[in-house]
């Protein structure tokens, strides 16, 4: 792989290569970065549909909404917010050459992500005992569809994190390898997006 830049050394933006290959868009953005942000933007609309369906069900089934455990999900929200902090801390560790900080932050990220999923599983268990299931009512369907898809995104993030963590243990990340920094940042963007979605779910589903 041809390297044009390293951290701390800026190469002039160049969208043309000897082989005629273009991998930087006309906006001076790496195609992979542009693609990631377009993907995340499309995900916003995906979750908007699910939140919209939930709002309709929520107004028509207020008694089932009363069964949601606000204190429990508040703790889960703090944990997910903290997990986002561990990701930026990991990237900060990589950029500053602090491998221990990188690995510890990723380990903490794994722990907090798993803790969040544990909270969600516990909540599902309690709600199903209360009679709120995916087939019990439109509220149940909308609630489980929205939080279930979010949980699936968290699980995908955790699977990605395991790969990222393994790479960090194998010393594959280095501030001297810009592509490795970007690899970690790609994961970070995904995880933060999952956090942003939860911010809205927490407000709309649980608090309103």
């Amino acid at each position: 792989m041809q390297q044009e830049a390293t951290v701390g050394h800026v190469a002039a933006p160049d969208t043309h290569h000897a082989d005629g290959h273009h991998d930087v868009s006309a906006f001076n953005l790496a195609n992979s970065k542009l693609a990631m942000w377009l993907f995340l933007s499309s995900e916003v609309m995906f979750f908007t549909v699910l939140v919209g369906a939930y709002i309709i069900a929520r107004f028509n089934f207020p008694e089932e909404h009363a069964l949601l455990n606000i204190p429990l999900t508040s703790v889960a929200s703090f944990i997910l917010l903290f997990s986002s902090y561990t990701v930026v801390r990991a990237i900060d560790g990589l950029r500053t050459g602090n491998t221990k900080k990188l690995q510890r932050s990723l380990a903490l990220n794994l722990a907090t992500g798993a803790a969040f999923m544990t909270f969600m599983v516990y909540e599902y268990s309690v709600l199903s005992h209360e009679g709120v299931t995916i087939s019990s009512s439109p509220f149940g369907f909308a609630f489980y569809a929205l939080t279930g898809f979010h949980g699936t995104h968290v699980l995908i993030g955790l699977a990605w994190l395991v790969l990222v963590f393994n790479k960090s243990l194998n010393g594959e990340y280095s501030a001297q390898k810009p592509e490795s920094v970007w690899g970690l940042e790609m994961y970070g963007l995904y995880w933060h997006f999952v956090d942003v979605v939860w911010i809205f779910i927490f407000a709309v589903v649980y608090l309103i």
């Binding site: 390293t6 917010l81 970070g188």
Partner: protein, 106 residues
């Protein structure tokens, strides 16, 4: 390994002036997000539904803004990325604000 060849400014690798630690900023953002979450929980006890919904949506938008700007680094990125991400967020907010009152109609 990626086959991409990209300049540092385009792929997100930070330049010399950005290579220093942002740890204190990240921690301050975490504190702000935690305080806002606490405020959200307190606001959820407001009985006037219009005020409650307005405040909760406003706080959620502020929290999302903080995460996007500082944790997702939109603050330091190409303006185009901010626009790409802001368009669906604005569209989503409009759609959901319209769905709210409509769903209350029977």
């Amino acid at each position: 390994m990626s086959n991409e060849t990209v300049p540092a400014a385009a792929n997100g690798a930070h330049t010399a002036d950005q290579a220093h630690s942002h740890a204190s900023t990240y921690f301050l953002v975490l504190v702000a997000l935690s305080v806002l979450t606490l405020v959200e929980v307190l606001v959820s006890h407001i009985t006037a539904s219009g005020v409650r919904i307005f405040l909760l949506v406003a706080i959620a938008l502020l929290k999302a803004y903080l995460v996007a700007q500082y944790y997702m680094h939109l603050k330091y990125e190409n303006r185009l990325l901010f626009i790409i991400f802001a368009i669906p967020i604005v569209a989503a907010t409009i759609i959901l604000v319209l769905i709210g009152p409509m769903s209350a109609l029977k």
